[in-house]
Symmetry: C2
Subunit: 319 residues, 2 copies
């Protein structure tokens, strides 16, 4: 929740000068998104989101992110459509940083997701995977097994401080997940961060999927495992099998899982929980005491890991 970059009148004029989007009639910083600065931008041509990319985004990766969104919008998937500059570029620079303008999508993200939302997300995820088949660019997932081990290993003492006994349990999770991580599941571009605040709804209809800035190339079923973690736990720790079943069934109406993918669901879900535990643990430690922005609690994912540790098969997730 922040806007890190302030745009001067001259910055905005210069930026819009590169586009065929008319003149700005409104530009307000949005208090959502923790990675980049986002502005609700209205011009004489319509409503857009202007994103200024901050430190965590590597400019070399923008062609992948913007390309994924452009492909999805072109295939009528409700992702933001990057607006091209007059030169046809899908991103440019503003105020000395990389910047992009995409279409504004209607919808409100669900604060209390239920079964209908899980089903809608499962179906959308599968449609997204199919729409991205054959996409030409790739981006390695920096937050897979090696990545989360790199984040967790130096912070085990901190994990132990958060909850006695946690360091050992997490070390065990990392080792077991690494040993049983799948090698040959169907791969392609995945969203990798499809949490409720990245899914817009009008009523129970999914109207948009946003924030593709963690997208990468990985197992398609891993994307589903992330969504099971993000959408199907009650009070952060109790897995709701009904929501899981709705999500998996809806996914499979569009793209049936292979038996290998289905068998891998428990380890993929455990890995996904480790991935979010890892970044939350790192953010938790890096935030100065007394800061006004409270980082997300890593223990939520420690609780989820406890569930995944004992899961025996896809059936435990409703699959």
């Amino acid at each position: 929740m922040a806007v890190y970059t302030h745009l001067s009148d001259a910055d905005l004029d210069a930026l819009l000068g590169e586009y065929n989007l008319g003149e700005a009639t409104s530009c307000k910083g949005i208090a959502e998104g923790v990675e980049n600065s986002n502005f609700a931008l209205t011009t004489t041509a319509g409503r857009f989101i202007l994103t200024i990319f901050e430190k965590r985004v590597n400019e070399d990766e923008l062609p992948f992110f913007m390309g994924v969104m452009a492909r999805l919008a072109q295939r009528s998937f409700p992702a933001p459509r990057p607006m091209p500059t007059r030169n046809g570029a899908l991103f440019t620079r503003a105020a000395g940083k990389a910047a992009a303008i995409v279409t504004f999508l209607d919808g409100v993200w669900p604060r209390t997701p239920g079964i209908a939302h899980s089903a809608a997300v499962g179906e959308a995820l599968a449609r997204m995977h199919l729409a991205l088949e054959g996409f030409e660019l790739t981006r390695a997932n920096a937050l897979s097994v090696d990545g989360w081990e790199r984040l967790i290993a130096p912070r085990l003492a901190q994990a132990e401080f958060l909850r006695p006994g946690l360091a050992h349990a997490i070390e065990h999770d990392v080792a077991q997940t690494r040993a049983s991580w799948p090698r040959a599941l169907p791969r392609g571009p995945i969203h990798a961060d499809l949490f409720p605040d990245n899914a817009l709804f009008l009523g129970e209809q999914l109207s948009g999927v946003i924030d593709f800035y963690f997208a990468c190339t990985d197992f398609l079923a891993y994307d589903l495992a992330i969504c099971l973690n993000a959408w199907c736990f009650e009070r952060g720790c109790v897995f709701d099998v009904a929501r899981g079943a709705a999500m998996i069934a809806a996914y499979e109406t569009v793209r049936p899982l292979s038996s290998l993918e289905r068998d891998a669901l428990p380890v993929l879900a455990r890995g996904a929980a480790l991935r979010f535990f890892a970044t939350r643990l790192a953010d938790w430690g890096d935030t100065p005491a007394g800061a006004l922005v409270k980082p997300k609690d890593p223990l939520e994912y420690a609780d989820k890991l406890a569930f995944h540790r004992q899961a025996k098969g896809a059936a435990d997730y409703g699959g």
Copy 2:
């Protein structure tokens, strides 16, 4: 820059159920405004700003604030128009707090205000004062002579710490301003906080005046003195007489100043600077070290006070 209140789906549905504004198609927290939580709300009926009132706003004062806005919108002044609930109320409650929905105004606030902006603001201020003539409600200005003295007196040591010699200079400002504060200038509802971030422009045309939550009943010329402080200093400390002259002249094309008002401009401007120095000093001291939201620098207003201290008459301001 913050959103303090998070609205659940149920909160938003319940709130919109009280209005004839259709259904929400989008609702995003805005990273502007430091007092209340603001959301850019789009419904099937149009674009609005939803405000959730936080601690500094006393609910008893909402009829004054909303009444001022309603009167201005009714008189075609570009202020946000409060949307009435089905019961005709101009505010209600959401998530346990007072809440109001007003029309969304197009425009971008000027990051680098110049002469044209000063003139537009001067003219708009006078139009606002005339449009509010005969307004039936009143609200005392809690941040006038007594108010700022109450904030400054216990923090003189802090002021001295910020800049050696400042405590004595400020005590002198407070005493002199109190002694020469006018008693009988024309009064009425004033905005009292018309800084650049509360004025929206489309090009050099003023398209909206927003944030009436410091509005109160006080000298009309004091409102102009606040704007001279807010719009006409270069780099925070050098008064730009050209901008002051443009603002005062534009104000007078709509509402000429009396000779008493003109003569009072230096003390009113000095008082206005004390008022903002006082709240910035208080916010500065109350912010925990390491907090991510940096309070505004009180020394900017100490510098402005140095200018006002030596001003001899309206001519020093371009009047």
